[in-house]
């Protein structure tokens, strides 16, 4: 069985506990305006021109982002970093894109990891059927679960999909006491509005078991990627928030009993 991924990051330190290997799945049903990995959206490998510089000269080469990988190959790569996982209490994180878009592939690889004692996280938008969430929850040790906007219309506007299924899935995970760390991308004017923050706080309060959230600050490092992959960049004029503003949000979420991290 094969899956499509577009990158593997070794020594990832912001995607769950310990030293992690993060596998980036290709393909995402969402189109978030602020997406940091626009190259992850299309589920198929894509061609692009890569430019290398050498002594001031440019060398262009057509190449592809994204490649097919077998379960066995991928698992071998994961196992290669096992010593780092063991020493640090780390493991593998499946991110994307949206890993749940390749649920069967994900399910199989999670099974192999579990069997081998490798800790796993699934970094998801939560946009999937409840059945899919339930299947994956059998095998993964932890969800990194995005929560962006609670208003359905706004969610649809800024991400392209409705939010209620995402919230339903989250509630199921909470009720069934699954290990979930929420992640809140702080996007000025979109997720970071007075109204949305208040509503997110209400959502947090409604959760019984989940009590941890990481704030992901917006940054505009991806502008280059938008150009390279010829994707419309709706955010290029947005400025990142200051550290003080981030701390303010941290305090707000702490006030409803959450453990809040900045930067994941």
């Amino acid at each position: 069985m094969e899956g499509t991924i577009f990158d593997i990051k070794h020594f990832a330190v912001h995607d769950g506990p310990g030293i992690r290997q993060t596998i980036f799945f290709k393909g995402c049903p969402l189109r978030c305006w602020w997406c940091h990995n626009p190259e992850s959206q299309n589920p198929k490998p894509e061609k692009y021109i890569r430019t290398n510089k050498l002594d001031g000269k440019e060398f262009k080469k057509e190449t592809e982002i994204g490649y097919r990988v077998t379960i066995e190959e991928l698992f071998q790569t994961i196992q290669g970093d096992k010593i780092f996982f063991e020493e640090s209490g780390g493991g593998v994180t499946f991110s994307g894109g949206e890993p749940l878009l390749q649920a069967d592939f994900l399910y199989k690889i999670l099974g192999l990891c579990k069997n081998d004692g490798i800790h796993s996280c699934v970094d998801t938008t939560g946009f999937a059927s409840l059945r899919t969430i339930q299947r994956i929850a059998e095998l993964t040790d932890c969800f990194l679960y995005d929560i962006k906007i609670t208003d359905n219309n706004l969610h649809e506007k800024f991400t392209g999909v409705p939010v209620h299924g995402i919230i339903e899935n989250l509630k199921w995970l909470d009720q069934n006491n699954k290990n979930v760390i929420l992640r809140f991308p702080v996007i000025p004017g979109i997720t970071y509005t007075k109204k949305n923050i208040t509503k997110i706080k209400l959502l947090l309060q409604s959760l019984k078991n989940i009590n941890q959230i990481d704030l992901l600050p917006y940054h505009n490092i991806s502008n280059g990627k938008y150009n390279r992959f010829k994707i419309e960049n709706k955010m290029k004029d947005t400025k990142p928030l200051s550290d003080e503003e981030m701390l303010k949000i941290k305090t707000e979420f702490e006030s409803v009993g959450f453990k809040v991290g900045i930067g994941g």
Binding site: H10, F11, V13, Q21, L54, G80, I83, E87, S88, G90
Partner: protein, 787 residues
């Protein structure tokens, strides 16, 4: 830092490096005396040592707590004409060179011209060596196949062990007497030689006691004219200490530091051993006295810190004796490689980290000076606090302390046949070199250019730079049918040059054993006294001679490139590749691009490339390891470059990895600058594929931008990263933490960055003191990390 230390530190930092002819004159004067020609060589050397210590100027700096300078003043650096003689031209170069200079005044030049040069010309060890070394050695040396450490500096690389911290010279004199009696009543055919050596050791022991007493007298004098009553009391206490140590075993913290310092000065005055001398496991040696005195109330945390800081400054006052020519290229720095070891395990194998370990780490962080260098030994038995504290200091960006794997060091030493207790009392010194402290003479003999040998192989034994046939004929590489053909040819060349190097080493070892014994150093390293044999002649319990492999990353990339581009993908023929290299890739831009960007490289946990690191490592190991030395020890390998990867690159034309002619090679076992694209875990996994336990040390430099160390969590994860590497038997890792932007600015405005210290390779140095090549190389490494 209190005001006294601040002032002393500042004086040390601003003292001018100058050359002093004092020692050279005292040595020459003695060698000319009648008595010098009537005694045995060891006794002559001991009397020379005594003549220096009896007559050299005593220097006591204002307000200092630990006394003794090798020269007449801080950073006044003596010369060693009996080892290597500086010509007048050399003195000019030293005075005028833009980096790592030593001021030479007219008086010194005059003394050299009239006294030193006429007497020593053709008589230094260096002169004698070059007469004895065969032509094949000289050809390889001149081509840059290897360097030779003992050409300008005496065999050294030793570290004080437990014994010398716990015994005074009077105890050693007793042992000497017993040993003399033993040999007087024995039928050992060498008994007479041994008795002469022991007599020499006895003279050397007396000489150092006398030297300490001269300090005591001077301190008494200063006390009588001192108006400040506190300082007066200090001076009298220091005088008392100098009368007690090193004659007797130290019994207070202050006494032990002063005791060691006299011994340190003795070692670096007797000759100029490579890597000066080193107190080794300082937290272990000092801890019992620290504990006792803290309990008694005679020592506080503040006074402990002040004494240690005063001790630190003494090291910084002593730059490495000036190096010249190729030796300056391979290791051009004021650093003299004293490497303080902290942590690790005790001799019973338990966790050795103690309260004092942390105090010393604080001292390192606060002092922020070049010398002494420092490292932590990390065993699986040490707590995480310890490694995290060390990483937090690294984060401040001056490259200290580096981190070593105690468990690997112990295994390396045991693999070499050492007793487990001696192994646990050991550590690393210099850059990364493994040794049994206090019981081993482990001499570094020279860097070995693994890439130049490949270059010669690719030219059928000819050095393409000079056009001379320096290697053997192993066939035209255009006729090679496979990598196996190339591998065999390379292996033949490697063995050919290894044999030349080892043969040269034996000639040089004999010369030092017979003509330049070191009776003082022999007092300190165990079993020289009971064996009645000099340190330089194999008297120590263990005797190892190391050859240092350089450029593993580059040679791996070069072989991988040939396999990938010539034999597998057939992108290019061997002939075309050689032509492109000969043309320094002029007109071959696309090819060079592909060699750099489209070819597998070492450092990415990719066996396709990494297999060649293992193959070359094993070939090098087999060519050197376990061969007998003149001193009846063993040759062994380690993998470190100091700055020789720049020199070795400068003797080479363009290479199959896309590197242009004369550019630096990779350093230590690190990947070539920019070749590692998968982050630190992949680098560590590649580096761990060679068997570190077969070496006496490997050096891995890992670059991080400062952002990486921003919070506790990241530091914890770096700690785990180190532990993972060590679980794979990695020997050593060091972090270079400084941004490329800072470095580039420093290159433009050196004046703003006079205190900027960066990690080079196995040691730290002032950025301003590095050659431009090396500066550029470090900037490139750093930039790569920041992407």
């Amino acid at each position: 830092m209190n005001s006294r230390i601040k002032k002393l530190r500042n004086e040390s930092l601003t003292a001018v490096n100058r050359l002093s002819a004092e020692r050279a004159m005292l040595v020459t004067e003695f060698y000319k005396s009648d008595i010098a020609n009537q005694v045995s060589i060891p006794v002559k050397r001991a009397l020379t040592f005594k003549n220096i210590l009896e007559n050299k100027k005593i220097c006591i700096n204002e307000n200092e707590l630990i006394v003794g300078e090798r020269g007449p003043a801080p950073k006044a650096t003596p010369t060693y004409p009996e080892v290597s003689l500086h010509s007048l031209h050399d003195l000019e170069v030293l005075n005028n060179r833009p980096k790592v200079w030593f001021r030479v005044d007219d008086e010194t030049k005059k003394t050299y011209k009239e006294e030193i040069i006429p007497f020593w010309k053709a008589n230094s060890q260096r002169d004698k060596m070059f007469v004895l070394l065969p032509d094949d050695w000289k050809a390889a040396y001149e081509a840059g196949i290897f360097t030779e450490f003992q050409e300008q500096r005496a065999p050294g690389h030793t570290v004080a062990g437990k014994k010398i911290f716990q015994n005074g010279m009077l105890n050693l004199k007793k042992e000497i007497q017993e040993s003399i009696e033993k040999y007087q009543n024995s039928d050992d055919p060498k008994a007479q030689d041994k008795i002469e050596e022991l007599k020499a050791m006895n003279i050397a022991a007396d000489a150092i006691i006398l030297f300490a007493h001269r300090h005591a007298e001077e301190l008494d004098k200063l006390a009588t004219i001192e108006n400040d009553s506190n300082r007066k009391a200090e001076l009298l206490e220091m005088a008392r200490i100098c009368r007690k140590v090193p004659a007797n075993a130290p019994e207070t913290f202050h006494e032990m530091l002063q005791h060691y310092w006299f011994i340190h000065l003795g070692v670096i005055t007797e000759v100029n051993p490579w890597d000066s001398f080193n107190p080794g496991r300082l937290d272990q040696h000092l801890y019992p006295l620290y504990k006792k005195e803290v309990e008694n109330g005679t020592l506080t945390k503040e006074s402990t810190t002040e004494l240690l800081q005063a001790f630190w400054i003494k090291f910084n006052n002593h730059p490495a004796p000036p190096k010249m020519g190729v030796t300056a290229l391979e290791s051009n720095t004021y650093t003299d490689f004293s490497l303080i070891n902290l942590g690790g395990v005790k001799e019973d194998g338990t966790d050795a980290v103690n309260e004092l370990t942390y105090i010393i780490l604080d001292v390192i962080e606060e002092m922020r000076i070049l010398q002494p260098s420092s490292m932590v030994q990390l065993s699986k038995k040490n707590p995480d606090d310890f490694i995290q504290r060390a990483i937090k200091i690294t984060k401040t960006g001056f490259g200290q302390p580096s981190i070593f794997n105690t468990d690997a060091i112990v295994k390396e030493l045991i693999n070499q046949g050492k007793d487990i207790v001696d192994a646990r009392n050991g550590g690393a010194s210099g850059c990364v070199e493994t040794g049994a402290f206090g019981t081993e003479s482990y001499i570094l003999t020279g860097y070995f250019n693994l890439n130049k040998i490949l270059e010669v192989t690719l030219h059928n034994g000819i050095d393409p730079k000079s056009g001379k046939q320096i290697g053997i004929k192993t066939g035209d590489p255009r006729e090679f049918k496979s990598m196996e053909d190339l591998r065999q040819a390379y292996n033949k060349q490697l063995n050919y040059f290894a044999d030349i190097k080892l043969n040269g080493n034996n000639i040089i070892e004999k010369l030092y054993a017979e003509e330049l014994p070191v009776p003082f150093l022999s007092l300190i390293i165990e079993d020289c006294i009971s064996n009645g044999v000099d340190y330089n002649a194999g008297g120590a319990r263990y005797n190892t001679s190391y050859v240092q492999g350089v450029g593993l990353g580059s040679v791996t990339d070069n072989l991988t490139s040939i396999q990938y581009n010539v034999f597998e993908k057939e992108n290019i023929t061997m002939d075309e590749l050689l032509k492109a290299m000969e043309a320094n890739f002029e007109g071959y831009d696309q090819l060079r691009h592909d060699l750099i960007y489209e070819t597998p490289k070492y450092g990415n946990d990719d066996d396709y490339a990494d297999q060649y690191a293992v193959k070359v490592f094993e070939m090098f190991y087999d060519a050197i390891n376990d061969k007998p030395t003149y001193r009846v020890g063993k040759f062994r390998i380690n993998m470190l470059p100091t700055t020789s990867h720049v020199y070795f690159g400068s003797v080479m034309k363009a290479t199959p990895d896309g590197r242009k002619a004369f550019e630096p090679l990779s350093e230590g076992i690190s990947p070539f600058q920019g070749a590692d694209k998968k982050g630190p875990t992949a680098v560590l996994k590649s580096a761990a594929k060679i068997d570190h336990l077969k070496t006496g040390g490997t050096l891995l430099n890992q670059k991080f931008s400062p952002t990486f160390f921003k919070d506790e969590k990241s530091i914890e994860k770096l700690g785990h990263l180190v532990r993972s590497y060590f679980r794979m038997d990695g020997h050593h890792i060091q972090f270079n933490v400084v941004s490329a932007r800072t470095l580039r600015d420093a290159q433009k405005h050196p004046e703003k960055y006079t205190d900027l210290i960066v990690r080079v390779a196995g040691y730290s140095d002032y950025f301003n003191d590095l050659g431009e090549d090396l500066q550029n190389e470090i900037i490139r490494r750093t930039e790569h990390e920041e992407i």
